[in-house]
């Protein structure tokens, strides 16, 4: 049988995979996902108290206290994760080893313009992306600043007495408004932008598996693929056949 296969069937296609996220990065994402979900689920009833489900959840002072405690614990987890993330950025910067892949560049603007032309049927080819495409960069920075705003405003409304020792009192209602609005902004953002790109446009589970297949690399991160494989498209075409 195997002898037959080697002669009559085409050779078995060997799919290479490329490492995309380290285990630490994947853990960071998992913590962000879980703590964010808990924060959202315990935060929404506090924001939308006119809904009967919120009122059922928050109908006694004990329950209000419980929901707030869960919210605070998740907040601490997320804050620690954010601190780790910042710390790692600073550490890598000090070692001059911070990869610049996620930094926005003019190429991203050009890619976005290119993509827009593609979506308007003005072009028929999609832009070629590097390690992270502009959509993924938008996701990172949106969540980056979102978590920053949520964290700062959250701690201000958690410890108003402390913060008004050196900040004007007006920051407290402003933080409350920002916290409650930014939460909705992030939630909508994740729902329409992130969920679309990793689940609907294509199923991209590299944030959990840590790897992308050669096919995915070639299709969605062609420039990065070329960089990693020596840049020759002839090699690619040969490999494919």
């Amino acid at each position: 049988m195997s002898g037959n296969a080697t002669t009559s069937l085409p050779p078995v296609r060997h799919e290479r995979t490329f490492p995309r996220f380290t285990a630490a990065q994947r853990w960071e994402h998992a913590i962000l996902l879980l703590s964010g979900l808990v924060l959202l689920l315990t935060g929404l009833p506090q924001k939308y108290r006119e809904f009967s489900i919120s009122q059922d959840l928050l109908s006694t002072p004990e329950r209000v206290e419980l929901i707030r405690q869960i919210h605070h614990i998740a907040a601490i987890v997320l804050a620690l994760e954010a601190l780790y993330h910042f710390g790692r950025i600073l550490y890598l910067m000090s070692k001059r080893r911070l990869p610049g892949d996620l930094l926005p560049t003019w190429q991203d603007v050009r890619d976005a313009g290119h993509m827009l032309q593609y979506l308007l049927f003005l072009r028929n080819d999609k832009p070629k992306f590097g390690r992270y495409n502009f959509e993924q960069k938008v996701t990172y920075w949106f969540v980056f600043f979102g978590v920053l705003i949520m964290g700062v405003s959250g701690f201000i409304i958690w410890f108003p007495v402390f913060f008004t020792k050196f900040l004007p009192g007006g920051v407290v209602p402003a933080a409350k408004l920002a916290h409650s609005t930014e939460a909705i902004v992030i939630a909508i953002f994740i729902l329409i932008w992130h969920v679309y790109h990793v689940h609907i446009e294509r199923t991209n589970l590299s944030m959990f598996t840590g790897r992308l297949s050669e096919e995915e690399m070639r299709t969605f991160h062609e420039k990065e693929y070329e960089r990693l494989t020596g840049g020759s498209l002839k090699v690619k075409s040969g490999a494919k056949k």
Binding site: V64, N124, D125, P173, V185
Partner: protein, 475 residues
């Protein structure tokens, strides 16, 4: 047999009707003649009262009770005649119904209070509605618990001098009654009255005779006064105050904001209180209600130098009751019922403004991009399917091409293909040579077996094409 039974039934009903009717009419006639007799023989109410007043109008007439207290027995005939009872022909014996002549029946009450408590239930005979309301009151509960000083009807309403309190038509409180209420309550609650008459409400009522301001009963109720110390009363306070303070016409008169309730509800404290009031109003909350900051009976104007909350130190003192570490900036954390504007709480105003623009300006285009991306992907997939279909069934291919030819002019298709093929890498003549654009025309040359691979490969080919372009441009 049957007919006999019906006859009997009809007859008995008739007998009953006639008999009953006669009895009723006889009774009615009897009572009429009786009342006629009373009208004819008995003295007029005034005359009847005069009998009593013969003794009871003597000044200083009293008896000593066992407790040593004198029981005053003098009635001022003038005052009684002017009272609502006197002017409505209520006679002495309407209430003192156990007295039929002299000597009066002996009393068992040992003290003045005991005497009053023995007697006040007669009010129920005429004022049953009000009397029943008092049964739910905090006074009645206190009395039942053994506090003999708890107010009963006659402590607030002196039956011998009581003026009319409500308008007979509308049932609304008369102006005179309204102004008089605080003094009535002050008979027992004098310390509260002293606070009230110095408050912004009390001063207006007691000094200026202003009828817009709340008097005791507006907040506490009248006969069924509930305890103001319960959690449910406390949770309902914001709505109690809001009855007047969200009344546009009334507040405009004094230049006051009607936004006090919704600004309170929108903030930390109010949200929780209102939630509890809605779900389980009996739960105590540690969140402040109106009275915790503004005071209860001593409510002052916001700009009052000693108590007014517009004075930051006064507000800070209130904050510190619950937030012990609060410093001078802290009270600003509460927006003092203001709606944020560029002048008041500009930071909040501009944060709100920012999101008003940010959300549609950023999330809107994102949604649009996602929708466009999705539709383009769908259109691509549809085109691919259309291209693949004839391949799956090669026998139909000629027919398909014929129908296609009707839709898209054949010469155009012929024109389009050659330059595209020219761009392609030479290694892939058949499958990969069909890029996305070329798939609008069914490529009959392709083998059915390769059809499944076609979409993915064509995509790759598409990319390789553009990659080639870039390579050449670099050169």
């Amino acid at each position: 047999m049957k007919r006999l039974r019906i006859y009997l039934i009809v007859m008995s009903v008739a007998v009953l009707l006639i008999g009953g009717g006669t009895i009723v009419s006889e009774a009615a006639a009897g009572s009429r003649s009786e009342s006629e007799a009373v009208m004819g023989q008995a003295p007029s109410p005034q005359a009847e009262n005069d009998t009593c007043l013969a003794c009871h109008s003597q000044p200083g007439f009293s008896v000593q009770l066992k407790s040593g207290e004198p029981l005053p027995l003098t009635i001022d005939p003038q005052a009684y005649a002017e009272s609502t009872h006197g002017s409505n022909d209520v006679t002495c014996v309407t209430c003192h119904s156990d007295i039929e002549g002299f000597p009066h029946p002996e009393r068992t009450a040992e003290s003045l209070r005991e005497f009053k408590l023995d007697y006040y239930t007669v009010c129920k005979n005429c004022h049953e509605e009000q009397f029943n309301l008092t049964l739910d009151s905090v006074h009645e509960k206190s009395l039942a618990a053994g506090n003999l000083e708890a107010a009963v009807c006659t402590d607030c309403h002196n039956p011998h001098t009581q003026q009319r309190l409500t308008d007979p038509q509308s049932g609304e409180l008369l102006d005179y009654a309204r102004l008089h209420i605080p003094q009535t309550c002050a008979q027992c609650h004098s310390a509260i009255y002293d606070q009230y008459k110095e408050s912004v409400h009390g001063k207006a009522l007691t000094e200026d005779g202003n009828l817009d301001v709340p008097t005791c009963t507006d907040c506490h109720g009248v006969h069924n006064i509930s305890s103001p110390l319960t959690a449910s009363f406390r949770n309902s306070i914001p709505f109690l105050c809001a009855e007047c303070h969200t009344n546009n016409a009334l507040m405009r008169k004094y230049g006051l904001s009607t936004q006090v309730l919704n600004t309170y509800v929108a903030d930390f404290h109010g949200t929780t209180v209102v939630l509890f009031d809605k779900t389980f109003p009996d739960q105590p909350t540690n969140k402040p209600v109106c009275t915790d900051c503004h005071g209860v009976h001593d409510i002052a104007r916001a700009d009052d130098p000693n108590k007014g909350l517009a004075v930051r130190e006064n507000l800070l003192a209130r904050c510190q009751v619950c937030h012990p570490g609060a410093t001078a900036n802290f009270p600003e954390a509460w927006m003092s019922h203001y709606i944020p504007s560029p002048e008041k709480y500009p930071l909040v105003y501009y944060v709100n403004l920012f999101y008003k623009f940010f959300i549609p300006a950023v999330l809107g285009p994102m949604l649009l991009l996602v929708v466009m991306d999705f539709s383009r992907a769908m259109i691509n997939r549809y085109k691919e399917k259309k291209a693949v279909k004839p391949l799956a069934a090669p026998a139909d291919a000629p027919a398909e091409t014929e129908t296609k030819a009707e839709e898209t002019p054949a010469p155009e298709a012929v024109e389009e293909t050659p330059p595209l093929e020219a761009n392609e890498p030479v290694e892939e003549p058949a499958a990969a040579a069909a890029p996305a654009e070329a798939q609008e025309e069914p490529s009959v040359e392709e083998q059915p077996g390769e059809a499944e691979q076609a979409p993915a490969e064509s995509e790759a080919a598409d990319e390789s094409k553009s990659a080639d372009e870039e390579e050449t441009s670099h050169d």
